[in-house]
Amino acid sequence: MSTPLVARPQVPPRRPRPSQSQRAFAERTQRTLWRRRLVNRVMVVILGTAAIVATLPLLFILFHLVKEGASAISLDFFTRMPKPVGEAGGGLANGIVGTLILVGVAAAIGLPIGVGAGLYLAENGRTRLANTVRFLSDVLNGLPSIVMGIFAWQFLVRPIGHFSALAGSVALAAMMIPMVTRTTEEMVRLVPVALREAALALGYTRWRTSLTVVLRTATAGIVTGALVAIARIAGETAPLLFTAFGNQFWSVRLSEPIAALPLQIFTYAVSPYDEWHALAWAGALVLIALVLLISLAARFATRARFGGMGD
């Protein structure tokens, strides 16, 4: 039986006290952490706002178009001709068909030339001719579309003596060619050398390798590029002003002036009549729907490319 002479005080286990420098560090970290969080929030808000603002015009346009134009859209709109001023109803059948014809002929002219030129650039990229063509097609790509209209007017409308759908299509094709050329070149360049060599090693000639293996492998990408180009020219107004000219009447002849949706929208929108304003809104809605549809198709084609080929 032994009692300690001196009772030991019960001390809780001591935490090591932070040193001076540790405390300073913690304080600094707290301060900078707070600041970093603040900066982060501010940046997220700024960039998020920018992203929303970037899409606002489209949403605003769509909203406005639907509000103003939806009421004028009916079966008549697609099947009837415009009515004279003062009469209610009527549609833009001639403009819709005209735009389809213009774009169709432009694609028929522009796609083969554009794809061919792009294939040439990709396969013979280092020659002097290729460099010149590439440079010129970049210049052409940046050319204002009204200049394309003047070009077609000078070379087709003036010699023939009157406006025509063909002149309009040529102007649109001239816009399309550089776009298709450059996308085709990019897509063909993405085709692995290994595939090309495989075909050559099987005894394929060079042109046959290009046309079958290379072009076929790049097809999905080229289709996407072509659709984007078509969507862009479908809404062009300026090149058509003094080429296709527009037509109040039904015409599907390439040698005659032809109606086009963008031209009709322009004419109707600047007119003083309310019925025409409504038609202009509806026409714009249809045009934008068409472009959206083509863009969707382009996305679909792109997805098919990245999804592999399947069967």
Binding site: R126, P192, A194, L195, E197, A198, A199, L200, A201, L202, G203, Y204, T205, R208, T212, V213, T217, G308, M309, G310, D311
Partner: protein, 290 residues
């Protein structure tokens, strides 16, 4: 550059190889009977062949014989010119701008670098398989049918037969016969490589060039390719570039050692690996450099 006596060693080496592991070899699929002897034996012979990429000389005076019905392995460190030499045999190098060749490579008696040579016809006679398998993004059937279809447009039935025969020769038929219309890209790496071999075989070539065909494959797939090569050499000339010395020792009858664009030594594989004449060869195969 030394000329080696090939003809006499041919028989010897072949029997020696068969003697080492006959069961293993025989067990691999031999579904075809012996092929009728081709009128072209398919011997490849290069004489003082040199090759330049622009100003840079990649090959110096290569003189080498690759005998028919045997496997010749080209070995050497990276950049030694063995792939360049292989690609010179079907003139795939000629595509490179600024490339230039001197000397001769003969397929049997024809000089394939003679002016006026039909390169397309040459490439049908000399098939090639690449390091990275490169099937076309098409169906299995279409991949194999690609060469015959364009080169001598056969009938449907004939094409079906060519496809089946080629796939059998490449030891792939049993694995794919139920899904010939499926995308070739869905096969495994080893299967895709054998498909590429089948695709080359469909042209009925006399010579088959392989550029490191198994370097990206796992050991099992590699073994299948090696067994396949052993089958194929009964019918054609096989030239294989490999970085894998064990592979060269296992599959080849003859081995040629390249270094810095020169042919250092070429001989029967047994000879090269057991008793090389040149110190450089000895150093390379024993792993002292390269």
């Amino acid at each position: 550059m030394r000329e080696t006596e090939r003809g006499t060693r041919n028989e010897e080496a072949a029997t020696a190889r068969v003697g080492t592991e006959p069961e293993a070899r025989a067990s691999s699929s031999s579904v075809l009977g012996p092929r009728p002897a081709s009128p072209h034996p398919g011997t490849v012979h290069s004489e003082k062949f040199s090759f330049w990429y622009g100003p840079k000389q990649a090959l110096h005076d290569i003189t080498l014989t690759m005998p028919a019905r045997s496997i010749t392995a080209l070995i050497g460190p990276s950049g030694c010119g063995k792939s360049t030499f292989l690609r010179s045999i079907n003139r795939l190098n000629a595509l490179i701008i600024g490339a230039r060749a001197e000397g001769r490579i003969r397929l049997d008696e024809e000089d394939i670098y003679a002016p006026g040579t039909d390169v397309v016809a040459l490439r049908q006679r000399v098939g090639m398989v690449f390091q990275r398998w490169n099937p076309f993004p098409k169906s299995i059937y279409d991949n194999v049918a690609y060469g015959p279809r364009i080169n001598d447009s056969p009938s449907r039935a004939a094409l079906d037969e060519i496809v089946e025969t080629s796939l059998r020769r490449a030891a792939l038929w049993d694995e794919v016969k139920d899904r010939l219309r499926q995308s070739a890209l869905r096969l495994s790496g080893g299967q895709q490589q054998r498909l590429c071999i089948a695709r080359a075989l469909a042209n009925e070539p006399e010579v088959l060039l392989l550029d490191e065909p198994a370097s990206a494959l796992d050991p099992i797939a590699t073994q299948r390719i090696e067994e396949l090569l052993y089958e194929l050499k009964q019918e054609l000339t096989v030239v294989i570039v490999t970085h894998n010395l064990q592979q060269a020792a296992r599959v080849s009858d003859y081995t040629a050692f390249f270094y810095l664009g020169r042919l250092v030594e070429a001989d029967a594989t047994n000879q090269i690996f057991t008793n090389p004449r040149e110190d450089q060869t000895d150093a390379y195969i024993t792993g002292r450099f390269g």
